[in-house]
């Protein structure tokens, strides 16, 4: 077994560039099939740059296809891909180099929605060991529903710091939606729902319960 290790390492080193070249060729073929040649070329350059920087590339290709399918012009498509790439780079910067690709994608969506980058960093500090995908998705959703980015960030970071699990965060989000749909002010409703959850969990003496019934506490 030990003798085989160097051989495996050599094979991996030999095959890695080939796999990357395969990904590049595949992305370029997909882009060429759906986009005008000039647009496909510009998007491919951005995708290559992202790959070289170690950022996820599928969201960039998807963003280009989304623009094309919704009738955006060439500048709109390339601009959308560039914004996505920039947001992903900024998200990784805020969340840390060890972030998972899904966290980077979710973080990019949050940044594009107007969430400040330092909120992402505070979220990482609030949940250093756990995945930030759901907190970031919830954050992005609250902003899309009209909650000011600052208020949404404070709510999600506060809940995460208090040990809210993913399911609890999703239920908090549902309660906020209901409150907003019933005529509540987005910021006020968000603050009230989170405060209420904090009171209930403090009363129960166990974090993570109240909004969703989960009993497992995630300690920061």
């Amino acid at each position: 077994m030990n003798r085989a290790l160097p051989l495996v390492a050599v094979l991996v080193l030999m095959l890695a560039p080939a796999a990357r070249a395969g990904d590049e060729a595949s992305d370029e073929a997909r882009l060429g099939a759906r986009l005008a040649p000039d647009v496909a070329r510009q998007v491919a350059v951005l995708v290559q740059e992202a790959r070289a920087a170690g950022l996820p590339t599928d969201p960039l290709v998807a963003r280009a296809f989304e623009g094309a399918s919704r009738g955006a012009d060439a500048a709109g498509i390339v601009g959308g891909v560039r914004r996505q790439a920039g947001a992903q780079a900024a998200a990784r910067g805020a969340l840390g180099n060890g972030s998972q690709p899904d966290e980077i994608v979710a973080g990019a969506s949050a940044l594009l929605a107007g969430v400040p980058a330092d909120s992402l960093a505070r979220l990482r500090l609030a949940r250093p060991g756990g995945s930030l995908v759901i907190p970031l998705v919830v954050l992005c959703d609250l902003v899309a529903r009209g909650v000011p980015a600052d208020a949404a960030s404070v709510a999600v970071v506060t809940a995460a710091r208090a040990g809210a699990t993913d399911n609890v965060l999703l239920r908090i989000r549902e309660r906020i939606h209901t409150g907003i749909e019933n005529g509540g002010a987005p910021a006020g409703t968000t603050g009230e729902v989170v405060r209420q959850w904090l009171r209930v969990t403090a009363g129960h003496g166990r974090h993570g319960e109240g909004a969703g019934g989960e009993s497992k506490r995630k300690t920061p």
């Binding site: 759906r34 296809f65 919704r70 955006a72 969506s109 899309a144």
Partner: protein, 398 residues
């Protein structure tokens, strides 16, 4: 008795034929009729309402029901997407068979009626010309051999006005007494004048005319209408009449109706859903489209969203939709190409997609409208095509 039997047999043959023809043409038609629901008369169009309508109404102590089936006779062609499109533009030709049963002729079989209606409908105007025969009639009302109807409708802002005229060739089936005078010779050889009376059937025709006007106001699912007219003809004195109607579109297929006042048989000849007297009723049209339902009352909407993930990359999507004829989904996992959802029962639609675990963006489109975020999913508004939902596939039920 024999006449009743023949009528019943004819009725079932006609209904079966009409249903077969109606389903083959009209049901396919129903998905996209190309009709403007706001156009006057569009709600009555067979292409919009579908090949079958059942209505029942009641008043204290009696029940009135009507069954109507029909075939749109307009020519159609298939477009590039395989949908049937009318080639006759604003022209529509519909053939109807209806059976109406009323307390007034409760002892007989349902009155069978046939109608042919040619209609030319534009955005705000419609004219129609129709021929009708038979139909229900109350005791003492003469049989209508043929009715010729014509109408003009116009949509003003929020109000539809229609003027109609129906000429009926009616047949009076009555008896006439004839007296014959003659002379007989008595035993003395004298001629004595005598007479005798004989009762014999005497049928004679007459023309009756009915002129009527309708004003209809609609708001959402509610429609209020008033119809008034004058009936006159040979052998009868001119009679004014009026009726008020209220309709509530409960669902796309179900219409609740109420009426106050009376309207004569000629006025009902081309409106089988209408009531002869003050009644409360319901009409059910199982293959109706939104064009039949009241304008703007039925907005396509997505009610609920469910997914089930089956590793490694199979995602079953179920969406509960209301008042929708077709639905599509698209997302990064389809390279943003639209994928049609299949209709299940109870308003649920579904599709199975290849979606790897991860974070995805997804949108729904209902009846060709704007792309929207699926209900209940976290939303992101940063895309070029409007809000999209964020779908997190964790590798288990999400």
């Amino acid at each position: 008795m024999a006449e009743d039997h023949v009528m019943r047999k004819n009725f079932f043959v006609l209904v079966t034929t009409s249903l077969v023809m109606g389903f083959s043409t009209c049901a396919a038609h129903a998905a996209d009729t190309g009709l403007d629901p706001a156009a006057p008369g569009a709600a009555r169009s067979l292409a919009a309402r579908g090949p079958l309508a059942l209505s029942a109404a009641a008043e204290p102590g009696s029940l009135h029901w009507a069954f109507e089936t029909g075939v749109p006779l307009g020519l159609t062609r298939r477009d590039a997407a395989g949908r049937l499109r009318p080639v006759t533009g604003p022209w529509r030709l519909d053939a109807f068979v209806n059976a109406v049963h009323d307390r007034e002729d409760a002892a007989t079989a349902a009155g069978l009626g046939y109608a042919l209606r040619l209609e030319h409908a534009r955005e705000r105007n419609a004219v129609w010309l129709g021929l009708s025969r038979g139909g229900s009639r109350a005791d003492g009302v003469p049989e209508a051999r043929l009715r010729l109807g014509a109408g003009v409708a116009h949509a003003f802002s929020g109000v539809h006005a229609e003027v109609e005229w129906v000429a009926s060739s009616v047949l009076f089936r009555d008896e006439r007494s004839r007296t014959y005078a003659y002379a007989m010779q008595d035993s003395a050889g004298t001629w004595v004048p005598r007479d005798t009376s004989v009762i014999e059937p005497s049928n004679h025709g007459a023309f009756w005319n009915t002129a009527q006007g309708t004003l209809r106001w609609r708001a959402g699912r509610l429609s209020l209408a008033t119809v008034g007219g004058l009936s006159m003809g040979e052998g009868v004195s001119a009679r004014p009449w009026a009726q008020g109607m209220v309709e509530w579109q409960l669902t796309r297929r179900v219409l609740l109706l109420g009426s106050l006042g009376e309207r004569p048989a000629p006025s009902l000849a081309f409106h089988t859903e209408a009531h002869p007297r003050s009644m409360i009723g319901i009409q059910f049209a199982p293959w109706s489209t939104k064009g039949w339902a009241m304008n703007s009352s039925l907005v396509p909407s997505a009610q609920a969203w469910k997914t089930q993930f089956e590793p490694p990359d199979r995602l079953i999507v179920r969406v509960h939709l209301r008042d929708v004829s077709n639905a599509e989904i698209s997302g990064d996992f389809t390279d943003w190409k639209p994928v049609a959802l299949e209709r299940l029962h109870g308003g649920w639609w579904y599709t199975v997609l290849r979606v790897p675990p991860g974070i995805h963006r997804v949108q729904l489109r209902l009846d060709g409208g704007a792309w929207q975020s699926p209900p209940g999913l976290p939303r992101a508004d940063d895309g070029p095509g409007g809000p999209s939902g964020t779908l997190v596939v964790l590798g288990a039920h999400d």
